[in-house]
């Protein structure tokens, strides 16, 4: 398995180079540059702007620019953010903990609800409770997350005052104190609930269907013939088999969640990677856009690798060599 992992990791290098080239080209092909929105053209000498463009190398051919960027990137220099006037790496590092916190919390919510609802519906299909769960799933799949987020803010933040509606922590709290951590969790709760409860729908339905399918398998009949309890048949024999396809989802999820739920983060003005990415694209902050994109590409490839490794663990029929 170690050998397999190393081989996969090495295989990522050419892939990442290709991605970097495509990403760079696409970013540069966006109309405009950082000066477009930042500088008031009526009060700045166009000559000066042109001078700055020349100085920053924006007029060079694209392959020259790419080479300059990639060589620096490989040395760990991700460039200076034109908007924030500080290294892109620092800005990103500031945001990562927020995004990870949101990602992990919503993932936990997704899985906990999916397991309970999916197991229950799968064990008692075509009953009223199954239909209620299916009804919820269809609603959650149909409602866009930004609508759900706005509704949630309206009710839980403005009407009921249960959760804060923006930011990641209350102002003025000292990092490291108990209140600080409680406040972080309090801030992450609502966006995480919105994300988690929305994405749990597809998991629940998937798990339910897989459990129903597995409950008709021959090995279930064997277990019954052995005198195994019905609850154990579902919670052990069937669940263990139905977990296998869910691993595929986990691989995708690691990526989408780390990339930050762009829209949810923006609505909650939650300072995560997704929100930063959207801002940076709007201001043509190349250094940040490129760095985040590369980071996400690496996460995507790693997420797939983790999913593949997990397959080998949950399904003994898959041997990784």
């Amino acid at each position: 398995m170690l050998q397999y992992t190393i081989r996969r990791l090495l295989g990522m290098i050419p892939m990442l180079l290709l991605i970097s080239f495509v990403v760079f080209t696409l970013a540069k092909m966006m109309p405009g540059d950082p000066f477009g929105g930042e500088i008031d053209p009526t009060r700045t000498d166009p000559k000066y702007i042109e001078e700055m463009r020349e100085k920053l190398g924006y007029n060079d051919p694209i392959y020259v620019q790419y080479w300059r960027w990639i060589t620096k990137f490989l040395q760990g220099d991700f460039g200076i953010s034109t908007t924030h006037k500080m290294p892109a790496s620092e800005i990103i590092m500031e945001r990562i903990p927020n995004t990870l916190l949101l990602a992990v919390t919503s993932l936990v919510i997704t899985y906990v609800f999916a397991f309970f609802m999916g197991m229950y519906a799968g064990r008692k299909p075509y009953t009223i409770s199954d239909h209620v769960i299916a009804g919820y799933n269809y609603i959650a799949l149909a409602v866009p997350s930004f609508v759900a987020a706005i509704v949630a803010i309206y009710f839980f933040s403005f009407k009921l005052n249960l959760f804060p509606y923006s930011g990641s922590v209350a102002i003025g709290l000292q990092p490291g104190t108990w209140e600080y951590y409680v406040s972080r969790l309090h801030h992450v709760a609502l966006p995480a609930l919105v994300l988690g409860l929305m994405s749990t729908a597809s998991y629940t339905q998937f798990l339910r269907n897989d459990i129903i399918e597995n409950s008709r398998k021959d090995y279930v009949r064997t277990a019954r013939a052995k005198g195994v309890k019905e609850s154990k048949i579902y919670n052990k024999h069937i669940l263990r088999n139905s977990m296998i396809p869910l691993v595929t989802f986990l691989g995708f999820d690691l990526v989408t969640l780390v990339s930050g739920a762009v829209i949810t983060e923006t609505i909650f003005t939650y300072p995560g990677l997704g929100q930063l990415f959207l801002q940076s694209v709007a201001t043509r902050d190349y250094a940040v856009v490129m760095s985040i994109t590369m980071l996400l590409s690496i996460f995507t490839l790693l997420g797939n690798l983790i999913a593949d490794l997990l397959y080998g663990i949950v399904d003994p029929r898959i041997r990784l060599e």
Partner: protein, 337 residues
């Protein structure tokens, strides 16, 4: 009479099991009565679709509850009715007092658990053995069913074993608690011919050493001749003939049994074509309401065969048949007419 009760291990009385098809229930097993004595091997034969498997699954109560149900009859095991037992009480019998092996060894084991843990589960369900003891017993069991290197096989997964080995594992699991009755539903159908012989040999050995009764379901009369004490021939959900193995093979009575015998490939005679029975078993929905269900395909069918339903009655001692060719089978009220 009292002696009879002691020897009977399993008694099925007038069993009717039906399936739900398009909103209506149709009987797949239609009024079957049989008994299996202790230490006896009873063979159940018939073509596919005759209700053999449904009957055996009814005994173990393993049929899918949403589409099937036992409509009538009694299943008595060791003098106790088990057909109306709840899941919990039933689970105390299943796997312990009576066990079952199935046709498909390839899919009958759970793919994600080791062989050892699947055998040990029987012990954890029915006994108080510790993990270590259960493992030790599992290894012994695997050795007793003829698996080489059982110490490593306990740690392997089903996909690492061949079909024959998997069926051996199924047998090991079934006999783990030394059940009094083993139901084997076409245990060799999915296996190679050479492996078939080995598995049958194994079943026979185990039956003798464990002194258990076996209900062997098969469509292979060769297997029956090899293994069984008594034979029950089923057709379209009903028993058409019952006899000890000797008289069935030497004096078959029912035309269906005779035709089944003729379709056995013979090695001692030169034949051009293998004879077969024309037609197929009628589907549940197309089952004739009255008359003999085999009449449609029977070469000796008489006009009354499609009207009068024959009754399973004793023709000669220990030999029962349900066919109008034998006057014993003609229902009493028909004779009086």
């Amino acid at each position: 009479m009292s002696e009879r009760d002691v020897s009977a291990l399993l008694e099925v009385k007038d069993l009717e099991t039906s399936f739900l098809i398009n909103g209506k229930y149709y009987n797949a097993v239609d009024g079957v009565s049989l008994r299996v004595n202790r230490k006896q091997i009873v063979g159940i034969v018939g073509e596919s679709g005759c209700g053999k498997s449904v009957m055996s699954l009814s005994i173990m109560n393993l049929l899918p509850k949403n589409i099937s149900r036992i409509r009538r009859g009694e299943i008595v095991f060791e003098g106790k009715r088990i057909d109306h037992l709840g899941e919990e009480e039933l689970n105390r019998i299943r796997g312990k007092e009576m066990a079952m092996i199935f046709q498909e060894p390839m899919t009958s084991l759970n793919p994600v658990f080791t062989i050892g843990s699947q055998i040990a589960e029987v012990f954890f369900t029915h006994t108080n053995l510790s993990k270590k003891e259960a493992r030790q017993r599992s290894i012994e069991l695997l050795r007793s069913v003829g698996i080489a290197r059982p110490e490593s096989v306990v740690n392997e997964y089903p996909h690492q074993l061949s079909g024959g080995m998997r069926q051996r594992v199924m047998i090991a699991m079934a006999i783990a608690c030394r059940p009094k009755l083993l139901i084997a539903d076409e245990p060799t159908t999915a296996l190679d011919v050479t492996v078939q012989a080995q598995i049958l040999e194994l079943l026979k050995d185990i039956q003798a050493t464990n002194e258990m009764a076996v209900m062997l379901i098969t469509h292979d009369l060769g297997v029956v001749a090899e293994m069984c004490d008594e034979v029950i021939v089923m057709y379209a959900g009903k028993i058409v003939e019952r006899a000890d193995v000797h008289s069935l093979f030497y004096h078959p009575k029912h035309p269906y049994t005779k035709l089944l015998m003729e379709s056995i490939p013979r090695m001692d005679r030169e034949v051009e074509t293998l004879s077969s029975i024309r037609g197929i078993v009628p589907s549940l929905a197309q089952m004739p309401r009255s008359g003999c269900r085999f009449a449609e395909r029977c070469p000796k069918a008489m006009p009354e065969c499609k009207i009068v339903t024959p009754k399973l009655t004793e023709h000669s001692p220990g030999h029962e048949v349900a066919c109008l060719l034998y006057e014993e089978s003609v229902p009493v009220h028909e004779v009086m007419k």
